[in-house]
Symmetry: C2
Subunit: 199 residues, 2 copies
């Protein structure tokens, strides 16, 4: 019992369920919300309900979308024979921002992580296999994160697809542009060295 009116207590409790929001932050957010106009609070609340109600996973690539198939999958200008595999819709958006890739995507919603009890069947992988059986795919580009789990997932997918004659590639890891060799960690520098190209 915090002593606040019941409605405020409920609001604070709901806010603490958000990631990274503790009791103190929730109180701060709650009072901020109460300071807003009724219209603004309604807009915030409605945006949550609308996003949750109207956004679904694309039945082809798994990306979040309000139409099925999603805008990318249904775009005739995008190459259907290139599939870039990413962990999350946010990674997909990061790839889109480079404005270079003209293929399609597949969103895994996670990575294989035996330590956490997450196996290949727990991520959106089955639909990728099904997708590859149904259409001609030239290249699968794996853009999972350069973590142990991301690498393991990349290895798993490449071992799965190579026997079927599908080219599987991995995005390059190395020194970030604008960064300094001196401050790079050993693993990144090793990846950078291994991935060297003739110029």
């Amino acid at each position: 019992m915090s002593g606040y009116p019941r409605q405020l207590e409920i609001l604070i409790k709901e806010l603490t369920k958000l990631p990274g929001v503790g009791e103190k932050s929730a109180q701060r957010l709650a009072f901020h919300i109460l300071d807003k106009d009724e219209d603004q609070v309604d807009a915030l609340a409605q945006s949550m309900v609308n996003a949750k109600r109207q956004l679904k996973h694309c039945s082809v690539c798994g990306n979040l979308t309000d139409s099925d198939p999603c805008a990318i999958c249904s775009d005739p200008g995008r190459r259907k024979d290139q599939i870039c595999v990413v962990e999350t819709p946010r990674d997909l958006m990061a790839m889109e921002r480079i404005r270079e890739y003209k293929g399609t995507y597949h969103v895994l919603y996670g990575v294989i992580s035996p330590m956490d009890g997450i196996g290949p069947e727990d991520i959106n992988l089955k639909s990728l296999i099904k997708r590859l059986q149904g259409q001609d795919v030239e290249e699968v580009i794996i853009a999972t994160n350069p973590t142990i789990q991301g690498e393991a997932t990349a290895m798993y997918i490449s071992k799965l697809l190579n026997p079927a004659g599908i080219k599987v590639s991995r995005i390059a890891h190395g020194i970030p542009v604008g960064s300094d060799l001196e401050f790079a960690d050993e693993v990144t520098l090793l990846k950078s060295f291994e991935g060297r190209r003739t110029i």
Copy 2:
């Protein structure tokens, strides 16, 4: 244009309006909200709307309440001749947690701050004066924060009320309990020295 579906973009935009929530945090929160069940999202959204719709300021003390007068003002067990002046409802709750004070409150919703163009008429002070005219008050305890603005507000109120013969007191400032003299700043130590009591 982030490239996300429209509903998601709206949600992210609404979330960035919250204090301390930037673009990246808003994206993280948005995806977290989409990961929840529909029921949970509804509960969160509804808690905001309900709190905003149903909570009002107490017509006596200004505290947030769902009934008017608020629970404290309408409690016959609380002394009406003691009024503790605080800056915000959160400060009021902090005072309540000590379980010692049995008087009533007055919430200013701010402090006098000429630098920010906030004068006595911009905070909830007029209603305090009106309240003091309407009832016998023995003591006004000023519990504004020990900041320059909080002190200035305390001084302003005491100068205003002293001629009317109302006792005005200020909560003590000094070394926090459990803290170390060595690490106290000079101003706190000075306040602590000035406020010394015979034991």
